[in-house]
């Protein structure tokens, strides 16, 4: 089973990198772009075949290490 964890700064936390990318896109003429957020994706394989158990495990990994929930939110995809 392949896990994808998407980590982004929470909505209330200023994403300065996203702001810089947004300004660069505006500079290239894409003025319709707004609310750019830059995050990261962490992918890995899991030996477990049980989707529910795997999801609980990956969420525990996010809480413990992969995300800092003071400033970040995360979303887990399993396939």
């Amino acid at each position: 089973m392949r896990a994808k964890v998407h980590v982004f700064l929470k909505p209330g936390v200023l994403d300065v990198q996203g702001k810089a990318v947004e300004q660069a896109l505006h500079g290239l003429g894409w003025n319709e772009v707004e609310h750019v957020r830059v995050g990261k994706t962490i992918e890995f394989d899991l030996k477990s075949g049980d989707a529910a158990a795997a999801e609980a495990e990956v969420k525990a990994m996010c809480e413990k290490l992969l995300a800092n929930t003071v400033i970040e939110s995360y979303r887990v995809e399993l396939a």
């Binding site: 700064l9 209330g12 936390v13 990198q17 810089a20 290490l65 992969l66 800092n68 003071v70």
Partner: protein, 220 residues
């Protein structure tokens, strides 16, 4: 008096801290590798140094906060031992949840490396008692992710409880409410982005950092 500096892979101010503490206080300083599962006996002060622990991978300080030595540092802090995290060490303390909040990318996305003037907002802590009567001290900063962030309620609480101990006169990185350093509720864990270890004798431009180490050990 005895102090320890925790050395993570990627720490680069560990020796600076050792020299700064020795010359400021005369204390014996032991270096502790991050993989160690025990700390030296009888420590009065533990310092988490600046640098780029674990290459700043994932988030600054995230992996260091889970290293075996940090389990011991947490236990020592719970026993009341004084702990100071400088720069990357401050990030480690936040990631370890020994201090509230987090350090974000600097507001202008730039690494800042310069001398800063700090206001001592609380000189009643065990780390800042030596600054009593002084409103301003000089140190230097060197950080890319030194932008202190916490939610409004946490910031209000930190200010209300006197846990904000240093503020920037001229905020170099966008830190909430100009915060440069905070202590935990108990007052025995300090995190700060400026480097007292780079300001411990006049030849370095400022000797104000020495007072911090002297205060920390005088209170032990």
């Amino acid at each position: 008096m005895k102090a320890a500096v925790i050395v993570f892979p990627g720490s680069n101010c560990d020796r600076d801290c050792k020299v700064a503490i020795e010359r400021s206080t005369g204390a014996k300083v032991e270096m502790v590798w991050h993989g160690d599962t025990a700390l030296p006996d009888g420590l009065d002060l533990i310092v988490l140094p600046g640098g780029f622990s674990y290459g700043d991978y994932l988030r600054c300080g995230a992996m260091a906060s889970l290293s075996p030595a940090m389990t011991e540092v947490k236990a020592a802090a719970e026993r009341g031992v004084a702990v100071v995290g400088i720069c990357n060490g401050f990030q480690v303390l936040c990631e370890a949840q020994m201090l509230p909040g987090a350090l974000l990318r600097n507001e202008k996305l730039k690494y800042v490396c310069k001398a800063v003037e700090l206001e001592v907002t609380n000189s009643q802590t065990r780390f800042t008692a030596g600054y009593a009567g002084r409103r301003e001290v000089a140190m230097t900063v060197g950080n890319g992710e030194g932008n202190f962030f916490a939610d409004e309620a946490t910031l209000d609480r930190l200010e209300g409880e006197g846990q904000v101990v240093f503020r920037y006169r001229d905020n170099p990185n966008g830190s909430s409410r100009d915060i440069a350093g905070i202590v935990n509720a108990r007052g025995n864990v300090l995190g700060l982005m400026p480097h007292p270890d780079r300001a411990f004798e006049a030849e370095l431009g400022s000797a104000d950092g020495a007072i911090l180490f002297q205060s920390a050990l005088a209170s032990a």
